[in-house]
């Protein structure tokens, strides 16, 4: 991934900046320019998600693609943020610990890197929220 392609998504990747439609009240992540509900009548504003939510479904991945740099297996999940939208993300936990309905909170982590000399890509993963 080239530097600009990663750099321009930093607000959403690092800080979960998404969108809220002021017309219908729906939240969106990743950010969108158009509200699919209201289309031209929508009014999208930036919104920072609290970063808490729950696991809707998950899988433990044993065979990642070539670009994968992390350990394996790892847990991938669809997390429903408390404001409503869902996102695909990694949950840092033992595979046996992952469960549908598990509460999670966001953490800032390394996601990938562009070879030995390229950029390191950071972003958001989730951890079990035991509080």
């Amino acid at each position: 991934m080239g530097v600009p392609r990663f750099w321009r998504e930093i607000p959403a990747r690092y800080n979960l900046i998404g969108s809220k439609c002021e017309t219908c009240g729906n939240y969106y992540f990743p950010p969108r320019h158009f509200c699919p509900e209201c289309r031209r009548q929508g009014k999208m504003t930036e919104y920072q998600f609290k970063g808490t939510g729950e696991v809707v479904t998950y899988s433990t991945i044993y065979t990642p693609g070539d670009s994968w740099i992390g350990g394996k297996p790892y847990v991938l999940a669809i997390v429903r943020l408390d404001e409503g939208p869902c996102m695909t993300t990694q949950v840092i936990c033992e595979p046996a610990e992952a469960a549908i309905g598990m509460r999670v909170r966001r953490v800032f982590r390394k996601i990938s890197e562009d070879g030995d000399k390229g950029m390191i890509h950071y972003g958001t993963k989730f951890v079990p929220d035991r509080a």
Partner: protein, 392 residues
């Protein structure tokens, strides 16, 4: 709008074809279709080629020109040739494009082809290339692979409806059994529930045998106006319905992860155009890129109620001789899944079934057959309904 018919169909052997190139296999499929239709080739006015990712699998774009060139249609005839892409639904979409070109009256004799050459790169590259059918920025970047996305569908389907590990495995067992009767299939061996369950884990709960393979292959059909079909063949297959639909590219943006809205919509549009209902369908080739995908598909297309796909599969209702035979070709799982070719291969299977020439896998008395071709995790779906009888 004119009614449309298929007058010729051709398909290569599916599998790892290390001695054959991208252009070799697509030209072979096209030649088989042209010979099947008893054309000289000069009648052909246009071509649509479904291909997901020549760019990533063989570093080749500009597929329309390449295929027309090596099929002999470019340098003197200069026919319009268009590459069509909708990830794993590229083939189905190429057929729909050809059908629309003929139905509109724009062209009379059109080739719809599909091709993918997937074994010229290492497996890890293939995994990454297939992941580009999902949202690269917000699924792929986050570590999602294709099996993992379908595994998350499976996990939720099991949680919500009680779908079992055995029910999923039975999809693969049945499709391997069906492929035994298909000389073109990549895998022609029986497997058992234990084969699936004891295979190495890819993305929990899906094992290697829940996943369709990496395959080279190509297929082609020739479509003409229904009014002209009998001029070429005694056994035309009529296109009664065609439906296409989209949904969000990301699985996570759907309202429900246990149903593919695009499959429901594409199926409904095809049924309405064909003026038939799910009960009228004699056999269906569905997009079983993973075992869970077949279970979701047979529910979304209305053959079984939501949540009943798994029990119906284990009870044999989707096997040969069952209520509705699903994937008589062996499906993506056992016939193989050269992604861009799959949608056309499904149509070729329906043509052979409706002509009564499907040999050991023939569904007796088949009159109406259906295809269901999905791109990504349901971002695109294309359905076609065919019959050996013309629309009344």
């Amino acid at each position: 709008m004119r009614d449309v018919a298929i007058i010729g169909a051709g398909c290569t052997k599916f599998g790892e074809m290390w001695d054959r190139s991208f252009r070799d296999i697509v030209v072979e499929a096209g030649t088989l279709a042209v010979e099947d239709a008893k054309l000289s080739g000069e009648e052909i006015e246009a071509m649509y080629v479904g291909n997901m990712s020549g760019g990533q699998f063989v570093n080749q774009e500009h597929i329309g020109s390449l295929v027309a060139d090596f099929a002999g249609f470019a340098s003197t005839m200069h026919i319009p040739s268009t590459r069509v892409e909708a990830a794993c639904a590229s083939g189905g979409l190429a057929l729909r494009s050809a059908v629309m070109a003929v139905a509109s009256g724009y062209h009379d004799v059109v080739v719809a082809a599909g091709v993918e050459k997937m074994t010229d790169v290492e497996t890890g590259v293939t995994v990454d290339a297939l992941a580009s059918a999902a949202d690269r920025e917000w699924e792929g970047f986050m570590g999602a692979t294709f099996p993992a996305l379908y595994a998350m569908v499976a996990r939720l389907h099991m949680h919500r409806y009680g779908t079992t590990r055995d029910q999923l495995a039975q999809v693969a067992v049945k499709n391997h059994h069906n492929a035994m009767g298909n000389p073109r299939a990549q895998f022609r061996n029986e497997i058992t529930l234990d084969t699936v369950k004891n295979a190495s884990m890819v993305a929990d709960p899906l094992t290697l045998f829940d996943c369709s393979p990496i395959t080279d292959g190509a297929a082609a059909v020739i479509v003409v106006p229904a009014d002209q079909a009998k001029k070429y063949t005694d056994t035309p297959v009529y296109v009664l319905g065609a439906g296409q639909a989209t949904d969000t590219i990301s699985l996570h943006n759907r309202a429900d992860f246990c149903t593919f809205g695009a499959s429901v919509a594409a199926g409904k549009r095809a049924y309405e155009m064909a003026k038939v209902t799910p009960k009228d369908i004699d056999l269906c080739e569905v997009h079983d890129c993973f075992t869970i995908a077949e279970i979701v598909a047979i529910e979304d297309l209305g053959f079984f109620k939501k949540g009943q796909g798994g029990p119906a599969t284990l009870a044999g209702e989707t096997a040969m001789g069952g209520k509705i035979p699903i994937n008589t070709s062996g499906g993506l799982k056992a016939c193989g899944h050269p992604v861009g070719a799959t949608g056309i291969k499904q149509a070729v299977e329906c043509v052979e079934q409706l002509r009564g020439t499907a040999g050991k896998r023939q569904v007796a008395g088949a009159k109406i057959a259906m295809t269901h071709n999905v791109g990504g995790t349901g971002g695109t779906a294309v359905c076609h309904i065919f019959s050996n009888e013309r629309r009344k």
